[in-house]
Amino acid sequence: MRHAGNVTAPDIELATHYAREFYSRRQESVRLWVVPRAEITDLSDPDLLQPPLDRTFKKPGGYVMRDKLDVAKKRAEADKKK
């Protein structure tokens, strides 16, 4: 699902017709969802979306594995030699 755009229309019926004209006239869509602007809840509060404290640990790239891996490999080799 992708945001295609917006249309101005007096009601949902004509909005649907216009959405069809603007976003599928050239067969670029297989389905359209048309929602009145007033029904869209806008969430843009930065405290909710962009918290100020470090959150890198929530990202897959947030962990630095290299050092831990090195330690684990050395331990494994030492165990073999025993």
Partner: protein, 280 residues
Amino acid sequence: MTTTDGARLPTRQLIQPDVPRFERRTLKPEARDALTGLLLTMADDEFVLGFWDSEWTGIAPLLEEDVAFSSLAQDEIGHARVWYEMLAQLTGDAADRLAFHRAPEEFQHARLLDHPRGDWAFSIARRWLYDTADAVRLAALAEASFEPLAQVVGKVIREERYHLMHMDAWLRRLAGHDGEPRQRLEAALAALAPDALTVFTPLPAEERLVDADLLSAPMVQLADRWRSDVGLVLKELGLPALPEGRPPAEGRDHSKPSESFRWLWGEFTSVARLEEGAEW
């Protein structure tokens, strides 16, 4: 677009053909001539309406409608192309000649489509009358015994569904707003009512079409079917009923073309007349 050796392809080769190839001999000569007559009226209806309605491009009531109405107009010209191409295959003629190189007197469009676009309510009223009539006519061809025709009709019906939806929305919108919108709509319907039945003008050889299972019923019957369809909607909206009576025999006669059609003809042939024999 160019081919690999750099030669320029004519534009027409880039357009997907919508008319299946067929053997002209599949149809008996009488049936073929009768079908030719019917297809020419359908092609001219779509062609002329498409050009009238494209007169709204740039000046429709709101931007979105401008795009929508222009797109409907383009659809009709697309349908006209399909019918002209089928005609061309049936008769060995060329679609471009039929569209752009006939005299105004030779056109066969219904008199309903002979009026200039008028105001917005007029264009809506006219298109609503035409689209509903065209739907009845197409339905009468959907089971045609000539497979290429039935095939194309099926596709056109699928496109016309949206036209009907859009016109219904506008008719109800204008009818439902007392004051100027409704007054203008009523005036438009009153002005068009005398010509409303001309889409069903009887064709010279239509009984052959019915005999050959190409058209399911004669035009007079289709006219009744249509009148009862639109009658229900007009009644629901409290609008005056269409006048009684049969489709006029001269409903497609342009032996004396109207001033407005002469003007439109001049517009839609202007590019073709710039250079005789030019190819796109």
